[in-house]
């Protein structure tokens, strides 16, 4: 299923990415922040994809923990890697926006700090998978579940605590000329995410075949 969808998704993602800068350039400037606010068109979608990666990893880890499905574990590790990648994009683009609009690179407010902790959570997951040795898959799955439950706190933190970040009401209330390019970018990043997830999962499947053949060879 995912293998059949890979090529069409790749074409869709490439096409949408090619058009995205033009749409972003044509979109009107935000009134208080000016040109730099256009970072919103890729800063917010990358965080959406980070959260998606975290949810997929968390749910797949839960399935692996309670049902012991190896395919779920392969999906979890693939999604965790993408969560870290998109989180890194968000953590890099955010300070570039903050430097111009707030005058500082990193405010250490609740949203940014929780987002950093979430990113470190999944970096820890990957480190555990790589260097934890046999049995670390279950520990890592527990860590992924913990990370997933952190996401709602990251999301609502701007509404609960005082912070420099805009509240969660900004995206649903974007005016038409800004909402169009924004949702275009969200779909483009979603296509990119699915292409990457499909490729990464295929890699894990290939690795599992290699491991099985090695075991057969040793016997």
């Amino acid at each position: 299923m995912t293998r059949r969808l890979f090529n069409p998704l790749l074409v869709v993602a490439a096409g949408m990415f090619a058009a995205a800068p033009i749409l972003v350039a044509l979109a009107p400037n935000e009134v208080t922040m000016g040109l730099v606010a256009k970072i919103v068109y890729f800063h917010v979608p990358v965080w959406f994809m980070m959260f998606l990666g975290v949810f997929i990893c968390g749910i797949a880890s839960g399935v692996y923990l309670f049902k012991d499905k190896q395919s779920a574990d392969r999906l979890a590790v693939s999604a965790a890697e993408l969560a870290v990648l998109f989180g890194l994009m968000g953590l890099t683009t955010g300070p570039l926006w903050a430097r111009v609009s707030w005058g500082l690179w990193w405010p250490w407010d609740v949203r940014t700090t929780l987002a950093l902790i979430l990113e470190l959570n999944f970096v820890a997951y990957l480190l555990l998978r790589k260097y934890g040795g046999p049995g670390s898959e279950k520990l890592a799955a527990g860590l992924a579940l913990f990370g997933m439950f952190n996401v709602p706190f990251v999301y609502v933190s701007v509404n609960v605590w005082r912070t420099l970040h805009p509240e969660t009401t900004v995206v649903p209330t974007l005016p038409g000329p800004m909402a169009g390019p924004f949702w275009w970018c969200v779909i483009a990043y979603l296509a990119l995410f699915l292409v990457m997830l499909s490729g990464r999962r295929r890699l894990e499947e290939q690795r599992a075949i290699v491991d099985r053949l090695r075991l057969a060879h040793e016997r």
């Binding site: 000016g34 970072i39 890729f42 994009m89 683009t93 430097r99 990457m196 890699l203 060879h217």
Partner: protein, 114 residues
Amino acid sequence: MSDINFGRFLLSWSTGRTLKVILAFVVSMCVPIPGSSAIAISAQSSQPALEEFVPIAELPETDRLPAAPFLVAAYSVVWILAFGYFWLLSRRFSEVERDLAELKNVLGDDLDAK
């Protein structure tokens, strides 16, 4: 020269002298200086409180940062990371396919020998 200094540092560390110096520094930073908080409060209260945002367009030119380089940098970071990940993925695929081919060859030879 630097070796001697490093050696002395290690020696002082081993006798705990450096630790004592660091501890004394940390403690001295924590001790409140009489009147310092009052000075800080009076300095804060002398400035008028900001009641609202000042839009970027209303700031003097000297206070503004050029936005375009930051926007381009942010977009470039996303592209570089995305392409970098695809490159990394293709490298890992090549490695796995090479391992797979080698194992299939070896297992094929074993099977032939049997």
